[in-house]
Symmetry: C2
Subunit: 240 residues, 2 copies
């Protein structure tokens, strides 16, 4: 029964995008047929060609849906409720990003981007990943520069180096996770790893009278494995 109301039309569009995520993730972008996606959404190929020009357009729309909220997160990076140290801000923001990546939608779409689509002409995931990497890197670089000025950084490394090291570590962590997402929890492993990482680059000569004493921050540094609930502890001081 064609000619639904406008809200229904938007609903089928979203259903198509949801179905695209699932089918792309299951079969890969190239082997996924529009027929399958349409069927998974409960419609026919006609609906697909009405809402999208072709498969590449559908793919781009699927990416757009996660690009915006994710960039919001990246740009919300400097915003911190408390005037903590700059390094602390970066650390918490990255942890937030890692937790987001474990949400089903981001996990699926990133899984598609990383292991289930091929770069070619119209479909080009790399350009988007590169773009996101550049903006994110520019943002954190500003933060690391500030940290350097504040004397939070160990003197032997500059802000640029710290920034590069940081993004390599994070990217490597995410890619390692996507090699087998069931092997470990990205958020909790990332938290532990980042604790160690920031412990390595932060200045230990605490002449920092600017910031509050901050009693030990890596309290359980020798005690790695946090007490066992382990289940993506998101409710901890993280505003939604």
């Amino acid at each position: 029964m064609p000619r639904r109301t406008r809200e229904e039309a938007e609903a089928t569009r979203e259903a198509l995008l949801d179905a695209a995520e699932l089918v792309f993730h299951e079969k890969g972008v190239a082997r996924a047929s529009l027929q399958e996606i349409a069927r998974a959404a409960g419609v026919t190929r006609g609906a697909v060609y009405w809402h999208f020009r072709d498969k590449a357009d559908l793919f781009r729309a699927m990416l757009e849906r996660i690009r915006m909220p994710f960039e919001e997160l990246v740009e919300a990076l400097p915003a911190s409720d408390r005037p903590r140290s700059v390094l602390e801000t970066i650390r918490l923001a990255s942890l937030l990003a890692l937790e987001r990546m474990e949400e089903p939608r981001f996990k699926r779409v990133h899984g598609i981007l990383i292991h289930r689509c091929e770069i070619f002409d119209d479909i080009d995931p790399v350009s988007m990943m590169r773009e996101m990497a550049l903006t994110a890197s520019a943002n954190t670089l500003e933060q690391f520069r500030q940290a350097e000025r504040d004397g939070e950084l160990r003197p032997e490394i500059d802000a640029e180096t710290a920034n590069r090291l940081f993004h390599c570590t994070l990217r490597g962590l995410v890619h390692s996770w996507h090699l087998d997402t069931d092997a470990f929890s990205l958020a909790s492993s990332g938290r532990e790893l980042l604790n160690h990482w920031f412990g390595l680059i932060e200045n230990t000569d605490s002449q920092q009278s600017l910031t509050q004493p901050e009693p030990q921050r890596h309290g359980q540094r020798r005690e790695h494995h946090a007490p066992g609930h382990q289940g993506r502890g998101q409710g901890r001081s993280q505003p939604r």
Copy 2:
């Protein structure tokens, strides 16, 4: 004119693998047709189906060709001409690996693995990457454990953490490079990054009378590397 000699047959097989690398890298694995690969190798599809069962088999054979020499490298990791410190050994071996990755063949095949093929049933790049990651990690973990026993590691981090950090950093670097291989040199950027990284984790309390003084190492790059013999460059075939 069929029925070539055995060496010629092996030559066309190699030519097919070379062509597969090129075409896979150009169009992606899914969109590359066996027709195209055969033409690029100067033969017809008949030759492809003679040497390989199907596209997945060809893909696997292409991977096999780089898997073996690369694992040789990984396993040659502990072998060091000079009794340097353990951390130094890891650093130099990783640098060697990074230099290898800039060689055309490894660059192409890794580029295919990372951005130009989709995981699915028969074609599964992830399992190979995971396998290589595990063996490499097991090897370096042994090294880091030895470094820990020798007191080369900063006391606040253990061998397991150092190993995880190390592989995340390396993986992140390689993936960043593959986002745009023309943006920077993997070897030289990697050398700089690794210098800083090992500077961060190594123990500064130099009670190490075991190793030679080794003046400042940071930012310092002395001789490039052994002008190696390039190893097994036999695959030069491509008739016509």
